[in-house]
């Protein structure tokens, strides 16, 4: 797993998924909601991946479903990174009780597993696709905040921080101007790993049937729908399942690679 080959494979897979999502209208040929043939056609010839339980083009649904999954997970990760980084900056920039509050608060929130935290958000806001983005984003935030805080703290020990402090820079100024830019590579690799978790979290929630709206195909929802046809049409589960698995693994591989880019010392 640690070879260049696996990194290349990961990048190639992500390239495929992203271009599939971007070019879905061109590549798909038919709209994902349209009935195009008999239901449960085997993947042979046309449509390329067969049809789902209602006779819709599975290839088209996979492309559009990927679009929904990776975009929503990206939005959730952006939320996580924004909240987590802000909390870490506040903690390190103000210090004292604020730092203790961030450390303690994120610790307390971590006492609720992030899936439960996400479900709690769904409970408060009601099911729906927008809610799921917020739920996953908030669910992963405490963990990210904790790790981002440590990343910033690690930088605090560096000599240049002492130098800046001697030159009269304030805590917050040091945090923003010195700690943050230097911790950026760590934060980036953290964000990548959290993106993989966000994909897992989002597809889990849609798999549980919390997507609300069912007109848009999405990988987790597709996997959920395919469960009923595992015996007569198992490929309906393979395609979204393999897509989710491949994408999560590829993003993790990317995260590992990014983590090793971090300058040491």
């Amino acid at each position: 797993m640690r070879t260049r080959v696996s990194l290349f494979l990961a990048l190639a897979w992500l390239g495929l998924v992203v271009s599939g999502a971007l070019l879905a209208p061109i590549l798909a040929g038919t709209a994902p909601s349209q009935v195009v043939a008999e239901p449960l056609l085997r993947p042979s010839g046309w449509p390329p991946l067969g049809t789902d339980e209602l006779g819709r083009d599975e290839w088209s649904r996979l492309l559009y479903g990927g679009r929904a999954t990776i975009v929503a997970s990206l939005a959730a990760t952006a939320l996580t990174v924004a909240i987590g980084t802000a909390a870490a900056l506040l903690a390190q920039g103000i210090g004292g009780p604020v730092d203790a509050t961030v450390a303690g608060g994120s610790g307390a929130a971590l006492a609720i597993p992030s899936l439960l935290l996400a479900l709690l958000v769904v409970a408060a806001l009601g099911p729906g696709f927008d809610t799921l983005v917020i739920a996953v984003g908030l669910g992963l935030s405490p963990g990210f905040a904790r790790l981002a805080r440590s990343a910033l703290r690690r930088e605090r020990g560096q000599p240049y921080v002492a130098a800046a402090s001697a030159l009269g820079s304030g805590r917050m100024e040091i945090a923003i101007r010195h700690l943050l830019p230097n911790a950026l590579p760590s934060l980036l690799s953290l964000a990548t790993t959290h993106y993989a978790w966000a994909i897992g979290g989002l597809t889990t929630l849609t798999f549980l049937g919390l997507a609300g709206e069912i007109s848009t195909p999405e990988w987790g929802s597709m996997l959920n729908a395919a469960r009923g046809y595992l015996r007569v049409a198992p490929w309906l589960a393979w395609f979204p399942g393999a897509s989710i698995a491949g994408t999560i693994l590829a993003v993790h591989r990317l995260g590992d690679w990014a983590a090793r880019l971090r300058p040491r010392g």
Binding site: A31, S33, Q34, V35, P39, L40, E53, L54, G55, R56, P127, G209, A211, G212, E213, I214, S215, R227, G228, Y229, L230, R231, V232
Partner: protein, 525 residues
């Protein structure tokens, strides 16, 4: 230390395997599957059809319906009289009936039950409506009870044959109150209620004292010592449950799996027609664009109901042709319901001003044609809704499908009012079922359609004697009105695909369709 580790592994394996113990030849216990978890199972209060599957055998009713013909026959009441003005029903009760708690059943128990149902604090969701224009119940003598109505109401006998008006022990009702009674039910039926754990199990045991079977019973005494009901809410895992032997009888099995199991050894599929309203979607007549009759007609014409039924439900479900299932009521003179005609649909939309743009989407005065469908999560409604989406997008509409997994969320979505179509249907054996849904003041008037002449037709028909030609004619007229106003998109006459292990014999269902006659059921070794 190593042996400790090994011991641990052995132990954990043993623990895992411990779950797999059930004697295969046990014929004294039946496992019966339920497919929806109701929010409550007090038949006087809750409305779900699911609750009746077990409880129909816990309670006896004043009268019973013949499973085949639907004819009303004696139950707890040996006979009854209806006053000439149709406003007083007098029931003469059996004198040998005991509740499961040992108390004798008599006329004051009927009064106590009906008082419990109509008590406004108890929020009865169904039973109180079955009573129609109920005024009061009166003890005439120890074993005679009179029911007074404010106006004639023909479906009353049908109502008194339903489990929702089954006779519960007033002592238990008093002792537990409306919140707890559902966990401690006491009736007079062939099986007694033992235990209910929501979403997990409901257990019944044989009532050995049972000696008052109705004339429809084929066995005098119940066969099983114990019937365990388990929940199989997820359609995707139902066939697996049957094949694993987790359950002996299970309904609502998805079409492909039901067909596959039927063809394989060891299982038999019984399609059971459920009378009442078909699987259907109601049009909201108060929200654009479905406030326009032409749009509703266009959507009907653009829907190939035969193809939808074929894809989702298969050949065992008949295509529905009106607001009630054909077994209950059909109109031989009516034209074919909304024939599939995309050309006609497009034409109707053009006349209504929804013109086709270059992008294949229709709009009027810069407003896009958007249709929003709210679908319940059960009964394959989501699949149907997605096929409607496909059909109507081909017509040039933008369609959004919102899923409401439970009845609570469905009602919430309905209250918000932002739907053009919503899926809902009720079951029953009398056409009066139409009233709560289409009368202006109906509890489930989700179409928003208000029409005093329809109201008076529905009220009038309810008062006419059962089986009379006048009553039939009036309901046909109601049906034509609902059709011409395009208020409902019927899909299929509801058919429950029940799959049972071949060991099960005597599987038959009450006239209402959902409820198995558990008393007559047997299991071969």
């Amino acid at each position: 230390m190593i042996s400790g580790l090994r011991g641990w592994l052995a132990l954990s394996f043993a623990a895992l395997m411990a779950g797999c113990s059930r004697t295969p030849n046990d014929v004294t216990t039946l496992t019966y599957g339920l497919t929806l978890a109701p929010t409550g199972i007090d038949p006087h209060i809750n409305a779900s059809a699911e609750l009746g599957i077990p409880l129909d055998s816990v309670y006896d009713t004043l009268v019973v319906q013949d499973p085949e013909s639907g004819k009303i026959l004696p139950g707890l009441a040996e006979r009854w009289e209806i006053s000439p003005d149709g406003r007083t029903y007098t029931f003469f009760l059996r004198r040998d009936v005991r509740f499961h708690d040992g108390t004798m059943f008599a006329a004051d128990d009927v009064v106590a039950n009906l008082d419990y149902v109509v008590n406004p604090d108890h929020h009865s969701q169904k039973a109180v409506f079955l009573l129609g224009p109920f005024e009061r119940a009166e003890v005439v003598d120890l074993y005679t009870v009179a029911i007074h109505l404010t106006q004639p109401f023909a479906p009353l006998l049908d109502s008194f044959s339903q489990v929702y008006l089954g006779m519960a022990s007033p002592e238990a009702l008093d002792a537990w109150g409306p919140a707890e009674y559902q966990f401690h039910q006491v009736g007079t039926g062939p099986y007694r209620f033992v235990e209910y754990v929501a979403e997990d199990r409901l257990i019944l045991e044989k009532n050995s004292d049972y000696a008052w079977p109705p004339p429809t019973a084929r066995r005098a005494q119940p066969f099983f010592d114990r019937i365990v009901f388990r929940f199989f809410e997820d359609p995707a895992t139902r066939a697996i449950a049957l094949e694993n032997g987790d359950v002996d009888v299970l309904g609502e099995v998805p079409r492909h799996e039901a067909e596959r199991l039927d063809a394989s050894d060891g299982f038999t599929l019984t399609p059971v027609a459920i009378p009442g309203q078909p699987t259907q979607f109601l049009f909201n007549t108060t929200l654009p664009p479905t406030d326009d009759l032409r749009v509703r007609q266009a959507l009907l014409a653009a829907t190939d109901r035969g193809a939808i039924v074929n894809t989702v439900f298969g050949p065992m479900s008949p295509v529905a042709e009106g607001p009630l299932s054909s077994g209950l009521w059909s109109d031989p003179e009516a034209p074919v319901f909304a024939p599939f005609d995309p050309g006609e649909a497009a034409q109707l939309l053009e006349t209504a001003g929804w013109t086709l743009g270059p992008n294949g989407r229709r709009s009027r005065d810069g407003t896009a044609l958007k249709i929003s469908i709210v679908t319940p999560g059960w009964g394959s409604h989501p699949e149907v809704a997605q096929l409607l989406e496909s059909a109507w997008e081909a017509l040039g509409a933008e369609v959004a499908v919102e899923l409401a997994p439970g009845f609570g969320l469905l009602r919430e979505a309905q209250t918000r009012g932002e739907y053009n179509l919503i899926g809902i249907n009720f079951f029953g054996t009398d056409p009066d079922l139409l009233r709560p849904m289409y009368a202006s003041d109906g509890l489930y008037n989700w179409t928003g359609y208000l029409d005093p002449s329809l109201d008076s037709m529905l009220a009038q028909a309810a008062a006419l004697p059962l089986g009379s030609e006048e009553r039939r004619a009036l309901y046909l007229e109601v049906g034509r009105l609902l059709r011409s106003e395009a208020l409902v998109l019927p899909i299929r006459d509801y058919t429950n695909l029940v799959v049972a292990s071949d060991r099960v014999t005597g599987l038959a269902f009450a006239h209402s369709g959902w409820f198995p006659l558990l008393r007559d059921l047997q299991l071969a070794p």
